[in-house]
């Protein structure tokens, strides 16, 4: 076995910002004062926030030390299922920071911002081409924001027809945000169970779909990493009852250049630019969750829309049936730039990216299914889901396996999700991991499976290499301390 990457280096401690510095130190080059002071009325003036005064070196050391306690995609393989932690190309960071983009005021007159408007217009066009759905909004700031946009469109669609529908079908393999997004728009979620193959059966949907039901929210490929192969039939059933089909496109990385969402019967789809289109996750954001819809739902998209007329690009608010606005301006434009750069760099090779993502997942599935229980033993898409069933006799759980992986130098997979699988370990390698790093990851998991049998305490006590051991989440929640 090759040497694992996990090892222990020098880890420095670092106090809080406010435990450092001294009043009067500064880290900011104060701009020249070229006007006279003009005091505000006393009754308006406060004491100012109790912030520490730091030097530039104080600040640099602080955040440099903090950064070393983090694991990112640049640190190592990050096979977090459903999150598509692919490599974030460096050039895209540079593109987003070009002064013409980074310094652009959102209320510039159209003639002074043709560059960004063209970029947005073309990105919409590319996303339409990739999904097969012709009309796109870039405004939602994240996947969940995209879901909310989709549900607002559902609501507006039925309102325009003078119908009030109260329910929505949500499969048990859906993302957890789906019911919350639907609830914000007044839809009660009706769970739909997946079958023994891990996908939805059309009969099950036919049973539940009625004229009180607005439609279905379906994740495809689903959270088990399986393609919902009955999608077209299911969409037919939903449409026959006047409903709409919403697809959560979080897993689009499996099917670019292969599946046509429109042909599959999908009416609305959200994408996660921070997953499929390689923009960084930023430790939790900013993301971007564009929504793509069919031609007849286009009129409901949020305002403003970018239009192209007589060679000029403009923003229009003249959309009387629009659901309105979800963001102060036009969404996370800085993230959109990176996705646009990525698409231009990849072109039609995006299909190859999907193919390799699926190849990597199937390879891992085949290599590991002898040591970890595979609840659905069939060809998977971009991710595969194992459980801790084989490790039960040694009192080793999914959590222990995940924590032990850290000691070997890997970020753990998504754990205990999807809920339909007990003790799930959901592995999504993405296409940017080479066979070399995947082989190392497989070797690590095999070694861990062996440890589980022979010395389970190594797993119970893991992790040992990171800065921290396991943290007490109970104390954190019982006696919340959210600020220092």
């Amino acid at each position: 076995m090759k040497a694992m990457t996990g090892t222990r280096g020098l880890v420095l401690n670092e106090p809080f910002l406010w435990e450092q510095g001294a009043r009067g130190r500064t880290c900011f080059s104060m701009p020249r004062r070229d006007v006279d002071p003009c005091p505000l009325k006393d009754e308006l003036v406060g004491q100012g926030p109790d912030f520490p005064d730091l030097s530039e070196v104080d600040l640099v050391r602080h955040y440099t030390r903090l950064s070393t306690w983090n694991f990112g995609v640049d640190t190592g393989m990050y096979p977090l299922g459903s999150c598509t932690m692919k490599y974030n190309p460096k050039i895209n960071e540079k593109m987003a920071s070009l002064p013409g983009f980074a310094g652009a005021h959102p209320l510039l007159p159209a003639e002074l911002c043709q560059g960004v408007l063209k970029l947005m217009y073309d990105l919409e066009k590319y996303l339409a081409e990739i999904t097969g759905l012709p009309a796109v909004t870039l405004q939602p700031a994240a996947g969940a924001h995209g879901e909310l946009t989709g549900m607002l469109i559902f609501h507006a669609f039925f309102k325009a027809r003078n119908q009030q529908r109260s329910k929505i079908l949500i499969p048990d393999t859906a993302h957890g945000t789906n019911p919350a997004s639907a609830a914000l728009c007044g839809f009660k979620s009706i769970p739909v169970a997946s079958n023994d193959q891990g996908v939805l059966a059309p009969e099950e949907v036919a049973e539940l779909m009625d004229e009180e039901t607005a439609g279905i929210m379906i994740t495809n490929p689903n959270t088990l990493g399986l393609f919902e192969d009955n999608i077209k039939k299911i969409a037919g059933i939903v449409h026959a009852k006047g409903g709409l089909v919403y697809a959560d496109g979080a897993n689009m990385n499996a099917i670019m250049g292969i599946v046509d969402m429109s042909k599959s019967g999908v009416d609305i789809l959200h994408l996660n630019l921070h997953k499929t289109f390689a923009t960084p996750h930023g430790g939790g954001g900013p993301g971007s969750g564009p929504v793509c819809v069919t031609k007849n739902l286009e009129k409901f998209l949020p305002v403003p829309r970018v239009i192209h007329q007589n060679g000029d690009y403009t923003l229009t608010y003249d959309c009387p049936e629009s659901i309105g606005k979800l963001h102060a301006f036009y969404g996370n434009f800085g993230v959109q730039i990176k996705a646009y750069s990525y698409i231009l760099s990849m072109g039609a090779e995006l299909k190859k990216a999907s193919q390799l993502a699926v190849l990597n997942a199937n390879y891992i599935k085949e290599e590991l299914k002898s040591v970890f229980h595979l609840p659905y033993d069939r060809a998977c898409m971009h991710e595969c889901v194992f459980t801790d069933k084989f490790q039960k006799p040694y009192k080793v759980t999914t959590l222990d396996i995940a924590k032990r992986l850290m000691d070997y130098g890997f970020h753990p997979p998504t754990i205990y999700f999807p809920l339909v699988v007990h003790g799930a370990l959901m592995i999504e390698p993405t296409e940017t991991e080479s066979k070399t790093s995947i082989d190392l990851f497989i070797a690590a998991l095999k070694a861990i499976a062996k440890e589980a049998r022979e010395s389970p305490e190594l797993l119970h006590e893991a992790p040992r290499n990171p800065k921290m051991r396991r943290l007490d989440e109970t104390i954190a929640a019982r006696k919340p301390c959210l600020a220092g």
Binding site: F51, H105, A328
Partner: protein, 444 residues
């Protein structure tokens, strides 16, 4: 393709293990009627060098500082961003990590967010702050939904002097809930008209922006006391320019139950309006009703101080349809940038910079007044203000664009009654020279 590491030999070996003939075979389970009829019609892949060129052309078509002198604010402010923040934020351990679900290897993100939460509570004068929301506008919508949840009431009021786009977002979020939104008019002095506050009895919350969209500093203290004549109604203070609280009294000390707004001014590039930062803080008793992620302090097995995501039971993945919000992320990197910015300035620097913004804006305001233009709202402002120009100023405004000056925002687009009224913003990036040039050109 440099982002796809597989060699042909490796692909062959992996296909064999996976039991597939070729790459297409991996997708044999996808029915024919769901497949694309043709290949992706996208431009030929750009080389890195072609991309550089292409993007230089696009970004070159933009009017930006310092070539242009842009006196626009209205929710997006031009502030200097210290290089140290850009460099630290570019550490990829921060930006290529995901939500810190595995705390043992995410302590960098977690402590950074805990510090952001702490500095935010200190800035806004409230007890608890979340790890941030998408932006100021959606933050305001979430605050009003929170007030509706807490009080069980179905009506909210928003001041007409709140940013028009923020009000539009509130409308969008509340549309399917059936809740009523009442708009409170503004007075001749640009402030919120307290006397016409609607019947408080059945209001879940009342939202006021300060400094408001016109730049005017509202009498939050007075408004708060009025609102709290019904102890159940929540007082929501929103803002687009947090730098103002470097010098002004903070919302918490003036009675706000929730303070939320846009944090872009704190070290985040304008980027055509996003990504921004939805700063959100509240009184402690509303902690469990707050939307968004929260980072809390705890200990590890060795008793060392550490941090975890906490109070997750409020969130969508556990409480599903009963969650406090559907949000499942934060603007992590933007929050980190804001924390760096607050720390870089410190109390002393923030105060000095806030004064400088105010004083420069006052300079331009006075110069315009001396040049004979009207300042219609007789109320103190921070770094933006409204000017009434003579009829037909539109033409002058256009002419100035050709001279690379953007002389503020035409307010009649959002307030039809404010014809020839323009909103001008001045920050530390505007020099006296720029402002003198603006006056000269307007008069020319």
């Amino acid at each position: 393709m440099r982002y796809l590491p597989h060699t042909d030999e490796e692909i062959a070996a992996m296909l064999q293990k996976a039991g597939a003939m070729d790459l297409d075979d991996l997708f044999s389970g996808i029915p024919e009627d769901c497949r694309r009829g043709r290949d992706l019609d996208l431009p030929e892949p750009f080389t890195e060098w072609e991309l550089n060129q292409h993007m230089a052309v696009l970004s070159g078509k933009m009017a930006v500082s310092p070539e242009y002198k842009i006196f626009l604010g209205a929710g997006s402010y031009e502030h200097y961003i210290p290089e140290v923040i850009k460099q630290l934020l570019a550490r990829s351990e921060f930006y290529t990590a995901y939500t810190p679900y595995q705390p043992e290897i995410s302590q960098g993100t977690l402590q950074a967010i805990y510090e952001y939460q702490t500095l935010t509570t200190r800035l806004l004068g409230l007890d608890v702050a979340n790890a941030s929301l998408y932006d100021g506008a959606s933050g305001l919508a979430e605050a009003l939904l929170m007030a509706i949840r807490i009080t069980g009431r179905k009506k909210v009021a928003v001041a007409g002097s709140i940013h028009p786009f923020y009000r539009k977002v509130v409308q969008t979020y509340l549309a399917p809930t059936g809740c009523e939104i009442v708009e409170i008019p503004y007075l001749a002095n640009g402030k919120t008209d307290l006397t016409r506050l609607p019947d408080l009895a059945d209001l879940a919350g009342i939202a006021v922006q300060s400094p408001n969209f016109f730049g005017c500093i509202e009498d939050l203290d007075l408004i708060g006391r009025e609102i709290h004549s019904d102890p159940k109604t929540l007082f929501v203070v929103t803002f687009t320019e947090p730098l103002a609280y470097g010098i002004l009294k903070n919302p918490g000390s003036l009675g706000a139950d929730i303070a939320c707004g846009e944090g872009q001014s704190f070290g985040i590039p304008q980027s055509f309006g996003g990504p921004g930062l939805g700063m959100f803080a509240a009184k402690k008793r509303f902690m469990r009703n707050m939307p968004g992620r929260l980072v809390g302090k705890t200990k590890d097995e060795n008793g060392n101080r550490g941090f975890v995501l906490t109070l997750a039971t409020r969130e969508q993945h556990i409480r599903r349809e009963k969650a406090t919000s559907n949000i499942c992320s934060n603007q992590g990197l933007c929050a980190t940038a804001a924390a760096m910015y607050m720390a870089a300035l410190g109390r002393t620097g923030l105060r000095e910079l806030a004064r400088l913004n105010h004083d420069k804006a006052e300079y331009l305001k006075n110069q315009l007044q001396q040049a004979g233009f009207t300042i219609p709202f007789d109320t103190p402002t921070f770094n933006e203000f409204v000017v009434k120009f003579p009829a037909g100023f539109e033409t002058t405004h256009k002419k100035l664009l050709a001279k690379k000056i953007v002389a503020g925002l035409d307010l009649s687009l959002y307030y039809p009654e404010l014809i020839d009224h323009y909103l001008l913003s001045v920050t530390e990036t505007s020099s006296k020279e720029d402002m003198d040039a603006l006056i000269k050109e307007i008069q020319a």
